[in-house]
Amino acid sequence: MRMSHSALALVRGALTGHTGWPRTWDSPLPRDRYKVIVVGAGGHGLATAYYLGRNHGITDVAVLEKGWLGGGNTGRNTTIIRSNYLQDASSAIYEKSRALYEGLSQELNYNVMFSPRGVMMLAQTEHEVRGYLRTARANYLQGVETRFITPEEVQKRVPIIRLDGPRYPVLGALWQPRAGTARHDAVAWGYARACSAMGMHILENCEVTGVRSDAGRVSGVETTRGAIGCERLAIVVAGHSGRLAQMAGFRLPVESVTLQALVSEPVKPCMDVVVMANTVHGYLSQSDKGEMVIGGGADGFNNFTQRGSWHHIEETVRALVETFPMLSRLKMLRQWGGVVDMTGDRSPILSPTPLGGCYINCGWGTGGFKAIPGSGWAMAEMVANEAPGPLAAPFGLERFREGRFIDESVAAGVAH
């Protein structure tokens, strides 16, 4: 029996010492066979399962997780949600995602704390100004609400920023008012709870060790908890995609590197929006707890340790102290790393694979968290229809062979 969440329920809970709350998601024994197996109980995998049930009526689903649910990048990112991407394909899926985040707490009856506090991306060179003007125009046609704002408006929205740094003065910013942050763990937990309520099985500590196929079509997986049959297989395992792909008999255009982040000790509210400074590779927001959440650059070498190199932290902190001088006297409380998957064009892969009935979702790089609902939506559509829908179609594996990149790094070329 699932208990509906509300303030009243909390009061009722208090009367019984909160002993009546059920499990957030069930922990059943695996069945022999499911219609769909989703490998990976991170945000993307759980959202895939959820929308399979919600949009397509497919609830004979198991989500397999080798460790603990939400234990990958879902729970170790800087929680930024935005959709101000340049390319149509990207903005379509990220905006779908952002729009779903708007109502996700109510839909899941679980507060994921989506907070559309606004995201601004600082323009600190003329080249960046031109790039963001272009993005703003593209976003307008894509139905994504953004605009280029003046340094004065930047200052008004972010009182702690210094506009006139000696190296990179703030020349303006791309502002997306309905972008923001959410509570990352809650997204995974909320989806898991909803999947479980639909009767889906979430199997933790269940590592896939092999993929079974029959006449070019997937027939099941081998796991540390025994063999499980399936009609369709969705591989949504981020940093482990290469290994799963190998089991399923294909290769991927993916490399894994470590991306680092850090938080300061909590302080009283001093910044109400999310600020990204791409010229100097740093982004900053303040969590509801009051911690300044800081994200930085990625290592340039393959790395699965979840430990990055210190000089990236140093570079990020230097840049942010320069832009936000008050940070200087705050203290770093914790630093950590996540393993992110970089594809050949730095955009994700949502694709059928050479193995029939097997679909893959990976390569989100540094942008995975914000995409969770949209990615799950598009993946579910592809698995349910056995063909990609319009959101997923541009992200197929064949694009590398065709040279049809979805390249968001267009600001990279600095010339003249």
Binding site: K66, G71, N77, T78, G242, G300, S309
Partner: protein
């Protein structure tokens, strides 16, 4: 913060003196090669959780490119060798078995808030 030894000049230095350059021993697929070969050359990567053969440049030192065999799970550098090599030296090519159990123990994570 890795320590690497440049096989060209012999200097052991830390990572900031070097620039990483991706997977080593790729075979260039030029004009007229099949799509598969070009895709493999440009995009498909083994991305191993284990020994990775990779390119580095001693960018702030002697300027030379070299190759390294490095474990992506432990960061251990098994060895560095000349970039003028088409395949890994035999003593570095024997890949130690990946410890699955250690991988399972490893995941533990932090949250920003």
């Amino acid at each position: 913060m890795l320590m690497l030894t440049c096989p060209c000049c012999g200097v052991s230095a830390e990572e900031t003196e070097f620039a990483p350059g991706g997977a080593a021993h790729l075979r260039r697929a030029g004009p007229g090669t099949p799509d598969d070969a070009f895709e493999a050359y440009m995009f498909q990567r083994d991305n191993p959780r284990g020994v990775h053969f990779e390119r580095w440049r001693h960018a702030y030192g002697c300027g030379k490119w070299f190759l390294a065999a490095r474990c992506t799970r432990t960061l251990r550098v098994l060895g560095t060798y000349s970039a003028r090599t088409t395949e890994p030296p035999a003593d570095l090519a024997a890949e130690p078995p990946v410890d699955l159990a250690a991988d399972l123990r490893a995941p533990a994570a932090e949250a920003p808030a």
